[in-house]
């Protein structure tokens, strides 16, 4: 015993300290275990967690405005949204470029439907304006070509804005057209002098690259490029133009003189002539409020608030629905869960305590609805519960209900509760049954023989042992219930629909996926919160599925 005291740390056979060696062995084991579960883990991450995260991320994503209208958004930053005045000329000039490039890429209608969620009518405004907006560019192009016909040629634009290396690579691609076109690289110095033209050309080159048929150098230049160049030339100082290196500065100078000589375009007047809605400050406020790349707008909408230029305000009373629906979804799901428990507990008790042969038959009856289509079961409830239905007919025949006052049992909350309780019942019975099966019947007999009344024996001895089953069943039922939408849609009428019905509507009909994602995120957060509370009160260790 005493000689071990002086030998220092224990060592393994190869001389390394035992602690290190042990840790190494354990680590190896852990890695092996991880490698074993890795396929499943990666599968779940890729096919389940990642898509959900991606979907939820849409609730804050809002790049579309900024990406589609870069010039407009930049110019709009100087405008005071509380003024009743429309923004100044630079905003309309920016819009003339942005809307043209967007229309070339068919992105203007997509932006229109995005903004239409915030301000009804914008969708048409963008769709209709997109049709004629290239009139600006065609006029500008005519002017440029009058100054020098070289502007008709795609190569002129490429040489002006791209690096020599890119032009070279692009020409080489044009010769055999295999693979992807080289990605556009901007000539140094152009960004400072011709920013609008460069922005539009980058889109033009990217579009040519994506379509993959014609090189950007051979494609017909977009009219939008002419509008952008015209604006840039007017804004640029002559010395900054001649300072540009490696390009045909004489061409630029000549064009600049021609542009200067012509009367400037009144973009504002032209846009107003195109559609009088462009004079509405509301349209501009909406664009401005939703120009940041990320927005809280969808989340605000999902709790009946809205984002305006004055800050966050409540939606008008006739448009507030989501809070009502959230509250209704939660309390009705709780009620349905409670009904399931009330009906399921005795059945599970019977199942657990009957003779095996009888219990099996009963079990099949419990499972039978599982094998029947959800729609069939829901429709069956309609036949039973409607006013000319089986139950009402029976009540009238028995004389319990007057024929003129048949009970309304469907297309309201009552209908939803009945139908959903029926559908979710097996999810309550099965966990209850599997827990009750493990409670020895001798416990109850022992309690009775020690003098307990039947109620005390049940309440003090049996019930506490079945609590884990109640917990598991309730969580299952509740979580399934808050996500239901087919049954509430069919039997819920006006008062019995859930928040999931709205989520389904926004996913499949209105295509407002941002709002659907925000509603979904809130629902998910509410469930996690309730789960946390449940864990604190009951303890999640007390949940048993079998």
């Amino acid at each position: 015993m005493t000689d071990t005291v002086d030998t220092g740390p224990m060592r393994a056979a190869d001389g390394t300290p035992l602690k290190v060696s042990l840790a190494r062995a354990l680590r190896r084991q852990k890695i092996r275990a991880l490698a074993l579960v890795a396929p499943l883990l990666i599968f779940v991450l890729v096919t389940f967690i990642a898509p959900i995260a991606d979907m939820l991320f849409r609730s804050v994503e809002n790049q579309i405005v900024h990406d589609t209208l870069p010039n407009t958004v930049r110019a709009l930053a100087d405008w005071d949204p509380s003024s009743a005045e429309t923004p100044g000329e630079p905003v309309y000039a920016g819009l003339a470029i942005d809307l043209q490039t967007a229309a070339e890429m068919k992105a203007h209608t997509r932006l229109g439907s995005r903004l239409n969620y915030e301000d009804p009518g914008i969708s048409s405004l963008f769709r209709q304006s997109g049709r004629n907006v290239d009139d600006f560019g065609k006029a500008a192009m005519k002017e440029l070509v009058a100054a020098d016909p070289a502007w008709k040629d795609g190569a002129t634009w490429g040489n002006l804005l791209g690096t020599d290396k890119w032009v070279e690579a692009q020409t080489a691609w044009g010769a055999d057209k295999t693979g992807l076109q080289p990605a556009f690289k901007a000539r140094s110095g152009v960004a400072g002098t011709l920013p609008r033209t460069l922005g539009a050309y980058a889109l033009f080159a990217a579009d040519a690259r994506e379509s993959g048929r014609k090189s950007a150098l051979e494609s017909k230049p977009w009219p939008a490029l002419a509008t952008a160049l015209e604006q840039d030339l007017r804004a640029a100082a002559p010395e900054s133009l001649s300072a540009l290196e490696g390009i045909d500065t004489a061409l630029l100078a000549r064009t600049r003189d021609a542009v200067d000589a012509a009367a400037p375009v009144d973009y504002r007047a032209d846009f107003l002539a195109m559609d009088k809605d462009w004079a509405s400050p509301d349209v501009w406020r909406t664009i401005r409020v939703f120009s940041p790349q990320y927005t809280a707008g969808y989340f605000l909408n999902s709790i009946d608030l809205e984002k305006t230029y004055e800050g966050i305000t409540k939606r008008p009373p006739e448009e507030r629905i989501y809070v009502t629906l959230f509250v209704r979804t939660l309390w009705m799901s709780m009620l349905i869960t409670f009904c399931c428990l009330l009906l399921g507990y005795p059945v599970a008790w019977l199942l657990a305590n009957l003779r095996a042969s009888t219990a099996n038959v009963l079990m099949i009856l419990v499972l039978l609805p599982f094998w029947t289509s959800l729609l069939v079961r829901t429709s069956a409830w309609k036949v039973l519960l409607q006013q000319q239905g089986v139950i009402n007919d029976l009540l009238v025949w028995l004389g319990l209900v007057d024929d003129g006052h048949r009970l309304a049992m469907i297309n309201n909350q009552f209908g939803t509760i009945i139908a959903m309780t029926h559908i979710l019942l097996p999810f309550m019975i099965l966990p209850l049954y599997s827990v009750m099966k493990t409670i020895p019947p001798s416990f109850l007999r022992a309690a009775r023989s020690l003098g307990a009344t039947p109620w005390t024996a049940f309440w003090r001895v049996y019930f506490p042992q079945s609590v884990p089953g109640i917990g598991a069943g309730s969580i299952l039922c509740f979580i399934l219930a808050i996500g239901y939408y087919i049954t509430p849609e069919l039997v819920g009428g006006t008062q019995g629909v859930f928040i999931s019905n709205r989520i389904a509507f926004h996913i499949s009909s209105s295509l407002n996926w941002g709002l659907a994602a925000a509603l979904g995120t809130i629902l998910l957060a509410a469930v996690l919160l309730l789960y946390y509370v449940y864990d604190k009160i009951v303890g999640i260790d007390n949940v048993k599925l079998g």
Partner: protein, 364 residues
């Protein structure tokens, strides 16, 4: 053993050779009797002419917009031709998910040479939508529960004193708010300018409030015929084809009220991003399937009106019976005396907004 291997190998070879020339196309439609009518009138004759083309069907039109957007984002397009309503086509066109069509070049002219744009006329609603049929949302009533004077105008729907009992209406604002305003005294041509204001919307809801507690709201087109057959409601709105089968095929005591029937259109869109060789076959099919005779053929199987003017005179009897189809067509002159042409573009702009208001109103 050897023979089996040999057989397997040869059959694999034949399969490979077969699939090299043949082409499988996936068409999307609504299922049921409607899809059957498309199969019989368009797809089967086309496949008979082109044995190398095989058409399979996907019954997903109800979720077509969302699914197409998801496919587009995933870069995995599995559909070649999609049947949608005109309002869905506006969304798809706006989102860049549907191909723009050059109608006169891509579609066949009428037999007398009238160009397609003229023959289709007002049914051409946007750049992507190729119309097939005109259907309508209209009213049916129980003949045995309305006394001796059956309802004759749409406003009888709002008359609870004359026709007591429940009504089935679609759970959406479209059509319902128009009917409400019309019966509140707004002229047909002013409907949308009135609806564009907050007061106009409030006025429509106030009119609907007068019957709100007598309304059963439906979401699936089959619900109204069932509710009428069960006697749950006295009258109800639904698609005219549904009422046709309840009356003609199931012989229910139901009659139709055509006044202020709301015209709607159903047709094809071609998804963007198809491979060129597939797109060529799809466009060829479209030219065939939307010509005058084919559109008229579809009306043999279902009571929806062909979208081309030149097809109307060719509409005959229900296939295999003696029943004339014309009196059940929404486009029949006798039925089309007072029609609601609902404004698709207005609804494309205001649908989400009105839907929120409608849901809030329902929840009150």
């Amino acid at each position: 053993m050897k023979t089996t291997t040999f057989l397997l190998a040869t059959s694999a070879l034949t399969l490979a050779a077969g699939s090299a020339s043949a082409i499988d196309l996936t068409f999307v439609s609504w299922g049921g009797a409607y899809q059957d009518s498309q199969l019989k009138a368009y797809a089967e004759p086309y496949m008979a002419l082109h044995p190398d083309v095989k058409i399979v069907w996907d019954e997903s039109s109800a979720e077509a917009v969302a699914k197409l957007r998801a496919m587009h984002e995933a870069g995995n397009l599995t559909w070649d031709l999609v049947d949608v309503t005109v309002s869905d086509s506006i969304r798809l066109c706006d989102e860049g998910l549907a191909k723009e069509i050059d109608f006169d070049a891509d579609l066949a002219p009428a037999p007398d040479g009238t160009p397609a744009t003229e023959d289709f006329g007002a049914t051409l609603q946007n750049d992507c939508f190729i119309p097939q049929i005109v259907y309508s949302t209209t009213w049916g009533y129980r003949t045995d529960k309305v006394g001796d004077t059956p309802p004759s105008t749409i406003c009888d729907v709002f008359d609870l004193a004359k026709y007591p009992g429940k009504r089935a209406m679609q759970k959406r604002p479209i059509d319902n708010v128009e009917w409400a305003l019309y019966c509140d005294g707004v002229a047909k041509e002013d409907l949308y300018s009135v609806l564009g204001t907050d007061e106009g919307v409030a006025r429509a809801f106030a009119k609907l409030d007068t019957i709100k507690d007598q309304v059963v709201w439906w979401t699936a087109g089959a619900e109204t015929p069932q509710l009428l057959a069960d006697g749950e409601v006295v009258m109800g709105s639904t698609f005219n084809g549904r009422l046709f089968s309840a009356i003609v095929e199931q012989k229910q005591p139901i009659a139709m009220l055509w006044d202020m029937q709301s015209y709607d259109l159903d047709g094809w869109i071609v998804p963007t991003g198809l491979a060129p060789e597939r797109e060529a076959v799809v466009m060829d099919f479209l030219k065939f399937a939307t010509d005058t005779q084919r559109l008229a053929d579809q009306a043999k199987y279902i009571s929806y009106g062909p979208a081309r003017a030149s097809s109307a005179p060719l509409v005959g009897k229900l296939e295999g019976t003696d029943i004339e189809m014309a009196p059940f067509m929404p486009t029949d002159p006798a039925n089309a005396t007072n029609v609601l042409h609902y404004d698709y573009t207005w609804w494309a702009d205001h649908r989400d907004d009105l839907d929120a208001k409608f849901q809030a109103w329902l929840a009150q």
